[in-house]
Symmetry: C2
Subunit: 221 residues, 2 copies
C-alpha cells in the first residue's frame, strides 16, 4: 500500500486503520490524500483481496497514454495474454528486469483485475501500461531506424547464443495460440528458449522471464 | 492422459469414454489396464480437474525411492515449497530443462494435489520425486567427490557470469522464507539472479526457470 501512495496514482480515497494512518501520514499529507479511518473488519468486508487488513486505496484509473520504446529501451508487447495471474506475474518480472513499458492488446487481461494486482506483488505501481490495437503501433515503430521486435516462437533462434540488440520490443503471445499473424508480421527476430527435456512448452510468464534474463545478460556483458 | 498411460504409473483403473478407449486401446491393451466405460457427465462428476471429459485414471502412488544426482546430472531440491501451483510449474520447468529428479522436503506441497497435477501440464509423468528429510540426504551427498549444491539467495554470485559445474543440486527455498539454515549449510555456492529494476523478488517458479536456463546455457557452450 505504501507503494501505491508513493507511486503516480491519484488516490481518491484512502480507507485505513488508525494505526496505518499514523504510520504513513507523511505520505498521505504530502499528497493531500483524503483519508477515512476504518476498522480491520470494515476493511476486510470492503476489499476483494485476501489480506486487506491495513488500508484500501480508491485510485483513479490512469489515462491510456501511448507508449513507445525509446532508443536503447526494452518494452514489452502482450498480444492477448488472457490469464490475470500470468499478467500479474509478467508485471513483476518486467519490474525485476527494469522494463517500464507494457503495451497490451485490447484482449489482454485487465490490469485492474484484483488477481493481476495481487500477482504483481506491488510491481503494478512501477510499470506503465497502454491498452489498444497493437498492430498500428508496431507498424509506426517499424518505420523508425533501429527498429527491433523479438517475438517468442517455438521455432526461432536460440536465445542462448543470440546477439540481442540494445533495445526494442519483446512480443509475447496468447497462452494457447501464441502471437497472432497480424502482429507477428512485425517481428524482426523470432526467438526460442532451448529445450533440454520433454515439456511441450513453458508458461508465458516463465518464458517472459527467461527471455528478459537472456536479453539483459547480453546487454550487460 | 495418454502421457499417464505411457508413463511408469501403475494404473489401477481407467474410467474412459467409449471414444477415448477406442483411440487409445493400443496403450491400454499393452499394459492390460482395467478399463470401465463412462459418459462425459459421469467423468465430470467423478473428477476434480476442470476439464475431465475423456478419461480419468486411478493410479497407484509411487514408491518413495531415494534420489541422488549422478555425476554430471542436475537434480532439484525443494525446501518447503508450499504453493501447489508453484510446485506444478516447477515440475513443468524441470521437464523442459531435462531435470528428472526432484527431492522435496516433507513440508513441500503434495505432488498428487490436483492443482499440482494441473499446473504441471503432464510433466508429472516425466519427472521423479522423493519426499523426506533432505538434510541427511544432502549430508551424505556432500561426502562425495565433486559434490556441488547451488542455493538460490538474494546475496549470492551473479548467475550471468557464474561458471556452473557439470552437475549437482539446485536448492530452492520457501516462498516467503527462502532456504532453511539447516539445509543452507550444505550449499557450496550461493547464487543470485541479477536485478535490473525494483521488484523485491521473483516467484520461486520463475527463479527456478531462470537458474536452470543459466546452468544449461553454460553446460551447452
Amino acid at each position: 500500500m505504501q507503494e501505491v501512495l508513493a507511486a503516480d496514482f491519484t488516490v481518491e480515497l484512502l480507507l485505513a486503520t488508525e494505526a496505518f494512518h499514523k504510520e504513513n501520514s507523511r505520505l498521505t499529507d504530502r499528497q493531500r490524500t483524503p483519508v477515512e479511518i476504518a476498522t480491520v473488519a470494515e476493511l476486510v468486508r470492503a476489499g476483494t483481496l485476501e489480506s486487506n487488513n491495513a488500508a484500501i486505496a480508491v485510485v483513479r484509473t490512469k489515462e491510456n497514454r501511448p507508449l513507445v520504446a525509446e532508443p536503447g529501451e526494452i518494452a514489452l508487447v502482450l498480444d492477448d495474454i488472457r490469464d490475470p495471474g500470468n499478467l500479474g506475474t509478467i508485471l513483476r518480472i518486467a519490474d525485476w528486469y527494469g522494463v517500464r513499458k507494457i503495451l497490451c492488446s485490447d484482449t489482454t487481461a485487465d490490469v485492474y483485475n484484483p488477481k493481476v494486482i495481487s500477482a504483481s506483488k506491488g510491481s503494478f505501481t512501477r510499470v506503465a501500461w497502454w491498452y489498444g490495437d497493437i498492430q498500428p503501433v508496431l507498424k509506426a515503430a517499424a518505420g523508425q531506424a533501429d527498429f527491433a521486435a523479438y517475438g517468442a516462437f517455438l521455432d526461432g533462434d536460440d536465445v542462448h547464443s543470440l546477439p540481442f540488440g540494445r533495445g526494442g520490443y519483446l512480443i509475447m503471445g496468447n497462452e494457447s495460440n501464441g502471437i497472432r499473424p497480424e502482429v507477428g508480421q512485425f517481428v524482426t527476430k523470432r526467438v526460442t528458449i532451448p529445450r533440454f527435456g520433454d515439456a511441450e512448452s513453458l508458461n508465458v510468464g516463465i518464458a517472459t522471464a527467461v527471455l528478459l534474463d537472456n536479453w539483459r545478460r547480453v546487454l550487460n556483458q
